[in-house]
């Protein structure tokens, strides 16, 4: 049984292919089109999935789209009418998009793929999210929490999933509670993202990274715009928002009266580090104000998520939880859910946002619509495209680099580890690309976490991004509990995909300052040997030399660009930044020995 899942037309278009219930390939369109958060129909990602499986579209049994377009169209029509005439411009734009392409999705799929229209199915947005996490998890029964901006109507769902591995029981995902548009935690967070001068659907991470610089002194004000409605639910006070009738602005003038004028995105949020590790405000209080707003909205978001999780536990009595939807990327909240609620096990798949809907739609069709038994657990995130040694060598030669080839993997990791300890920044390009927005050791930029200056070096000279943004450590699984604080009775599953922020142990903070955020926390990736043996060996080699079982890991891209996919992308990024070394397969290229840089 071969099923292709597709998600597109909002942000992060993607395709995922499963065969007999096992994931074969999954990738976001942006990796191929090189447009960050590309939302267009994922032609290139679909072609990659088919190529990876070695089939053509004729061999597909089903194609499943991750949401129901007619339900979404209904929501847009009704919302526009409710807010008319203020919504006129938004309505005009939406109709142009819908009548131009989105309504005719079946035709588009059939234009590209040779598949009968009866074999094209549609899953609901939040069911796709729920299925993406639950049917990738190791659980037979689990509570499920989905949280994002909005799908068709739902923005938050509470539910439960059950599935059998032997084909004897019934597979189901049942949502028993949902919060509907416009009451959306995701859209509220996005409104604050826009207020703080960042791009919606891109800058939410930056708000999370900015929050620890502030204190949540505006939390009471944030509770005015999002009000608790009992049993974990909430309602937005729509007087403060305009996203339901405007596509240009997501908050109203009343919101501005409450929080002040929006931050000018052209003025960088700069907190310069003074002597003695004291962070000082360089913007005469203005930067501090916005940091405090970020801290307040982050705190309230965490409290709402904790409330929802506690309610879900009370209703299901289960100790396993799957989280999906864009808010699943809020790794600070995920860490608190695992530490502070009765859930002992949490699973979040690496593409928790809309791209993951492609995987969820395919898994939902296979397990729930077709009632096929479970066969798959997502143990790693490496489902994207890989390039063989010949392709890498060809790209290297075409660009005129002079690589050093290491046929012995051990020698390669030793040399890379040595260079890291010398303070060099190393691009690490190996195997299949990661699924989801996190680089987890196959398309990564690595540096020494012991050197505090590395944070600024990588932010300013390598990635050209905002200096306040933190970096994450990749830590060996056997040493991770010595580095972070975590309850001993709770597994660290979300850390496998770098989806959980934890306090760094006080004795480690000074040892790994480059990956310790200003509030003493870090978004650790737990590296397991079975998931990525080469990366594991590299960190072990680094540990042998330094006694620290961790490296600084950030995604292999420059600001505003998608993570590199092909060897050409990697070499282009290497050339345009101050990276010292790039390791691609068994080839190592150093700036000083690379000859003519392309």
């Amino acid at each position: 049984m071969r099923i292709l899942g597709i998600s597109c037309y909002y942000h992060d278009a993607a395709a995922a292919f499963i065969q007999d219930g096992e994931l074969i390939a999954a990738a976001e369109e942006e990796r191929f089109s090189r447009k960050k958060h590309d939302s267009e129909f994922p032609r290139l990602a679909i072609q990659f999935c088919l190529d990876q499986a070695g089939i053509t579209s004729r061999d597909l049994d089903y194609v499943v789209f991750y949401e129901k377009p007619l339900l979404k169209f209904e929501r847009i029509l009704l919302t526009s009418l409710q807010t008319f005439p203020r919504s006129f411009n938004q309505f005009r734009r939406a109709m142009s998009r819908w009548l131009g392409s989105r309504l005719w999705l079946k035709s588009q799929i059939q234009d590209l793929l040779d598949v009968d229209s009866a074999r094209i199915l549609f899953s609901e947005h939040h069911l796709s999210h729920a299925a993406s996490a639950f049917f990738s998890s190791p659980y037979s029964e689990s509570a499920i929490l989905t949280l994002d901006g909005v799908g068709e109507w739902a923005s938050t769902t509470l539910g439960v999933g059950r599935a059998s591995w032997d084909g004897k029981g019934k597979n189901e995902i049942r949502s028993f509670c949902e919060q509907r548009f416009p009451h959306s935690l995701g859209l509220m967070y996005s409104a604050f993202t826009a207020f703080l001068g960042f791009e919606v659907n891109e800058g939410e991470y930056k708000v999370m990274g900015m929050a620890p610089y502030g204190t949540p002194r505006y939390a009471d004000k944030v509770w005015k715009v999002i009000q608790p409605a009992g049993r974990g639910s909430f309602r937005l006070n729509m007087d403060y928002f305009s996203f339901h009738y405007s596509s240009r602005r997501s908050f109203s003038s009343r919101f501005e009266r409450l929080f002040g004028k929006p931050r000018n995105p052209d003025i960088p949020f700069v907190l310069t580090r003074g002597e003695g590790q004291v962070w000082q405000d360089a913007l005469d209080g203005e930067g501090r104000h916005y940091a405090d707003v970020a801290a307040s909205v982050q705190l309230v978001t965490e409290e709402v998520i904790l409330g929802l999780a506690r309610e879900l536990h009370a209703r299901t009595g289960l100790d396993r939880l799957c989280i999906a939807g864009g808010i699943g990327y809020n790794s600070v909240a995920n860490g608190r859910v695992l530490r502070e609620t009765p859930f002992r096990h949490i699973f979040i798949q690496p593409a928790a946002g809309d791209s993951g809907g492609a995987l969820g739609a395919a898994l939902y069709a296979y397990h729930v619509l077709l009632q096929k038994p479970r066969r798959f657990v997502m143990e790693h995130a490496y489902w994207g495209k890989s390039f063989d040694g010949a392709s890498i060598r060809d790209a290297v030669q075409r660009r005129g680099f002079q690589p050093k080839t290491f046929s012995d993997e051990r020698a390669l990791v030793q040399e890379a580890a040595r260079r890291l300890t010398e303070g060099q920044v190393v691009g690490w390009y190996q195997g299949r690309a990661e699924w989801g927005p996190r680089a987890l050791g196959n398309r990564s930029i690595l540096a020494d976490p012991r050197a505090a200056r590395m944070k600024e070096v990588v932010n300013r000279k390598i990635k050209f991004r905002e200096p306040f943004r933190p970096f994450a450590p990749s830590i060996l699984d056997r040493g991770i509990r010595d580095v972070i604080e975590h309850p001993p009775d709770r597994p660290l599953d979300p850390a496998r995909f770098m989806l959980m922020v934890s306090p760094i142990r006080p004795n480690m903070r000074a040892r790994i300052p480059a990956v310790t955020h200003v509030d003493g926390t870090g978004r650790a990736q737990m590296v397991e040997k079975k998931a990525n043996p080469l990366y594991y060996e590299l960190i072990r080699a680094f540990e042998d030399r330094t006694g620290v079982p961790a490296v600084l890991n950030t995604s292999f891209n420059l600001k505003g660009e998608p993570i590199v996919n092909s060897p050409d992308d990697a070499l282009s990024t290497f050339s345009r930044s101050d990276m010292d070394v790039v390791v691609m397969g068994e080839e190592m290229i150093c700036k000083s020995t690379s000859g003519g840089l392309a």
Partner: protein
């Protein structure tokens, strides 16, 4: 052949959309959606037809 399939697909989607609105008890939206679809068709025609400049001036 492809265009015939595309046309038939689009008619089928329009049918599904009207049926969906009826089933959701949103029958009162049908006239508005019909007008929107008609305008959509005119716009698509206007973009692709040699008559485009004349149609543009009409509006």
């Amino acid at each position: 052949m492809k265009w015939a399939r595309r046309l038939s697909n689009r008619f089928s989607v329009v049918g599904e959309l009207f049926y969906f609105l009826w089933r959701q008890r949103l029958w009162w939206l049908i006239p508005m959606v019909a007008v929107l679809l008609l305008f959509g068709l005119i716009l698509i025609f206007a973009q692709t037809s040699p008559l485009a400049p004349f149609i543009y001036t009409l509006f």
